[in-house]
């Protein structure tokens, strides 16, 4: 093949498209910020930024796990249910203290992740089907454990939900730390490389002797655990456990954040920075529309437009 493409592009159109793929999501965030600075009253206040950041934290944490799953050419639909399961477990075991309860909630997420991973890796069920099963089962289990909304009155949880360090809420710090951790894992560890290789070409990864099944299980365990953490964060923020509604449609928000952030659904590439920006972008978009008194249905339409744009930008990535 003669079309050996070198790193430095000369074709302006191709180069522009590449830039759009790489930095489009960041540009989107910047544009929305500038728009709001200019046209939204009271946008430029610390309080507002705190609110935005606190709202985006749980979505972001879920999206991190989702990015890993999508990087292996899979998907994890059970994340919303894991959040519900996590909140149920949390309020059930809160009597043992917040730490123990949180630990048990995360364990619950890990168990769901193991089930997902085992179905995908060993039974060979397609990820969308396997995690759909756990999505239904997880929500059911959460409701069995805790049939209705329950207030969470625990000083530890209250501190987690509203406390801060130097003005930065704990929730945001935790989400940021997890994002850095996942980014580090993807970039610097053998596990991260193996995830990408498996996502890009599974037969090749298998023949190269990679522990494909183990990596897949670990990926879904990570996703489950992160979703459980997101459940804890959301519970702390709302100071209530509501397994009926917590995390509904969360899988879609997370997938949106990941896709908008430039991680292709075909696997083989994981962009954590982009995922963070993607989650922020969606959050800002919603806020902007709400602050300008547009009905919520507009938000959904705007989200759809963003997704289509992101997919359009990603479309030509595979071509030369």
């Amino acid at each position: 093949m003669a079309d050996l493409a070198l790193a430095r592009g000369t074709l302006d159109r191709a180069r522009l498209l590449r830039l759009l793929q790489e930095y489009g999501v960041y540009a989107g965030v910047a544009v929305l910020l500038l728009f709001n600075f200019a046209f939204t009253p009271y946008f430029l206040s610390t309080e507002n930024f705190r609110t935005q950041a606190v709202q985006v934290a749980p979505v972001l944490v879920v999206a991190l796990g989702m990015a890993l799953a999508i990087g292996t050419e899979g998907v994890d639909l059970s994340v919303g249910s894991v959040m519900a399961l996590s909140t149920s477990l949390l309020s059930l075991y809160l009597g043992y203290g917040p730490w123990i309860a949180a630990l048990i909630a995360v364990l619950g997420g890990i168990v769901v992740g193991v089930a997902n991973g085992a179905l995908v890796a060993f039974v060979g069920v397609q990820p969308i089907v396997a995690t759909l099963a756990l999505m239904v089962a997880g929500r059911g289990l959460a409701l069995v454990l805790l049939p209705q909304l329950k207030d969470v009155r625990d000083p530890g949880m209250a501190a987690l939900g509203s406390g801060d360090v130097l003005g930065v809420p704990y929730l945001v710090l935790i989400a940021a730390a997890l994002a850095l951790l996942v980014a580090f894992v993807v970039r610097r560890t053998t596990f991260g490389r193996q995830v990408l290789a498996i996502g890009d070409s599974r037969p090749a990864a298998r023949l190269a002797g990679l522990p494909v099944s183990r990596v897949l299980v670990v990926v879904y365990v990570c996703s489950g655990a992160l979703a459980a953490v997101a459940g804890i964060l959301a519970t702390a923020r709302l100071s209530a456990s509501d397994p009926t509604s917590l995390g509904t449609l969360m899988e879609l928000s997370a997938i949106t954040a990941v896709v908008v952030g430039g991680t292709p659904l075909s696997g083989g590439r994981v962009r954590i920075g982009g995922t963070v920006a993607g989650a922020v972008l969606i959050q800002l978009l919603t806020t902007t529309l709400i602050k300008h008194d547009l009905p919520p249905s507009w938000t959904q339409i705007a989200q759809a437009v963003v997704i289509v744009l992101a997919v359009y930008a990603a479309r030509e990535r595979g071509r030369r």
Binding site: A2, A5, T10, T190, Q194, A197, R206, L207
Partner: protein, 505 residues
């Protein structure tokens, strides 16, 4: 019929075609040859509307044309058969054959009766007998290729472009293909034929155009053109040089007297392999001969743990290896270069660096953290040693030429310091120059004490490269050629005369 003048096409950083003139005449089979990277694929893609040229003109039937999409080119009567079959695997053979132009009955619905009848006739004319109602993917690759051919012929094409059509065909199918090509020629169709196989070119082609580095270096009738001269034009080397170096790069002899490092005993895989045993000594290249479907790849895969076995043992240096696990085989020092480089070998979206380091990652990491500087050293060493041509270690492997992809794969395995190297068609589909390099490398590795199992459909390569040749037929070892018996003649005789010992080929 179809011609281009002063055609140029540039990709970021590379001038793929410059000032190319090329004309395909009606009723003529025109060979298009050149090393990988010479610009053949690009030229074909321009002709079929996949790429648009930067400069120059394409004219069809005497009038200038600009095909914006492959569909337009197809509708104009230009059919292309690509190296990789691009049909719909889940649809039936008949539907694939008539995809997009199904015979309609009343109400505009597909007339399946007629569809199947016509499909069956079309294939029968090409000497293919398959149930046209079966999904295409149940057919072998060769048969799929023939369906693609039938499709191209059936659309009343005026120009048929074939990009290495024989790379997955058996000799009998190649004969059928040639029959079809002759028929096309008589019908006045212009055929453009891309291949790396000299024999085929001289058998079927009338004219030849040689591309090198994006330029036409020769064009004219093929008859009367000396083979060596053709090779030297493709390579851009002098004739004397080619002749003295021979057509392959093997030295062909290694001294191997030590104890076998690899022993495979009684490997059996239902319907594929029956009681296959072989032993490899360090420093020798053992060829695995046989026709398509004789169980060569399966043997290699079974040894490498990529194919679960029903019975049999594999041991490396006396230590038994768990079968059915690639990880166990790799730990024991067995590396397999798979036949299907694109699907099973490279990880196209990752960089050259990541691809080379992939298998050796655990060894190049500390506590699960990748040690980048060590990887860089290893990658640099191998890129230099194997002369991998890439823009840099961070270029995506999917963008490299076939030969360089193969070298990246070799580097991946060599980075593990294996004891046994199983090479399944290491030079298939790569250009002459890279081929010679890979062959020289195999030789060198054997000299370094590696045990090499070489599978190749290229008889010449197999004979010249191997110290011994084990011949398989229908999943059974039928013969072992050693010493002076390792000749093409000996191999042919073994293939022809040996009784089929298997019962379930």
């Amino acid at each position: 019929m179809l011609s281009v003048t002063k055609l140029s096409k540039t990709f970021p950083g590379v001038r793929a075609l410059s000032d190319v003139d090329f004309t395909a005449h009606a009723g003529q089979v025109h060979a298009l040859v050149g090393e990988n990277g010479a610009g053949k694929s690009t030229l074909i893609k321009v002709l079929t509307g996949v790429y648009r040229p930067d400069a120059g003109e394409v004219s069809y039937d005497g009038a200038p044309v600009r095909f914006a999409t492959p569909l337009q080119a197809q509708q104009a009567g230009i059919s292309t058969i690509y190296q990789e079959v691009n049909l719909v695997p889940l649809m039936s053979v008949a539907r694939n054959l008539f995809l997009g132009r199904e015979p309609r009955g009343r109400l505009g619905l597909i007339d399946f009766g007629r569809l199947h009848r016509e499909a069956d006739e079309a294939l029968r004319r090409l000497g293919i007998r398959v149930d046209v109602r079966r999904p295409l993917r149940e057919l072998g690759v060769g048969a799929q290729q023939m369906v693609a051919l039938a499709r191209a012929v059936a659309v009343d094409a005026r120009v048929v472009i074939m990009d290495e059509p024989t790379s997955s065909l058996e000799p009998r199918e190649v004969a059928t293909l040639f029959g079809v090509i002759r028929m096309l020629r008589e019908r006045g169709v212009a055929v453009i034929y891309v291949s790396h196989r000299m024999d085929e070119l001289y058998e079927i082609c009338d004219a030849v155009t040689v591309l090198r580095d994006g330029r036409v270096v020769h064009t004219g009738p093929l008859a009367g053109l000396d083979r060596l001269r053709l090779v030297s034009m493709m390579l851009g080397r002098e004739i004397g040089e080619v002749r003295t170096e021979g057509l392959t790069k093997f030295s062909g002899s290694h001294t191997a007297t030590a104890e076998p490092v690899l022993r495979a005993d009684n490997l059996t895989v239902r319907h594929r392999l029956n009681d296959v045993s072989l032993a490899l000594r360090p420093g020798e290249v053992v060829g695995l001969g046989g026709l398509l479907g004789s169980g060569r790849s399966e043997t290699a895969k079974a040894i490498a743990g990529a194919l679960p076995t029903d019975a049999g043992r594999v041991s490396v240096a006396g230590t038994p290896v768990r079968t059915g696990s690639t990880a166990a085989a790799i730990r024991a020092g067995i590396s397999l270069l798979p036949e299907d480089r694109k699907a099973e070998g490279i990880v196209p979206g990752l960089s050259v660096r990541e691809n080379i380091a992939l298998a050796a990652l655990p060894a190049l990491s500390r506590f699960g953290l990748v040690d980048d500087s060590r990887i860089d050293r290893v990658v640099e060493t191998f890129m230099k040693r194997l002369r991998i041509k890439a823009a840099g270690p961070h270029q995506k492997v999917g963008e490299l030429s076939g030969g360089n992809q193969q070298k990246v794969l070799l580097a991946r395995w060599l980075a593990l310091h294996p004891k046994v190297l199983l090479l399944d068609e290491p030079t298939r589909g790569i250009d002459v120059g890279a081929k010679a390099e890979v062959q020289a490398l195999i030789d060198e590795l054997a000299d370094d004490g590696l045990a090499v199992l070489l599978i190749s459909s290229d008889t010449e390569e197999l004979i010249e490269g191997s110290d011994r040749v084990i011949v398989l037929k229908e999943g059974v070892v039928v013969r072992e050629l050693t010493g002076d018996d390792v000749t093409e003649d000996g191999l042919m005789r073994a293939l022809a005369s040996a009784p089929a010992g298997g019962h379930d080929g």
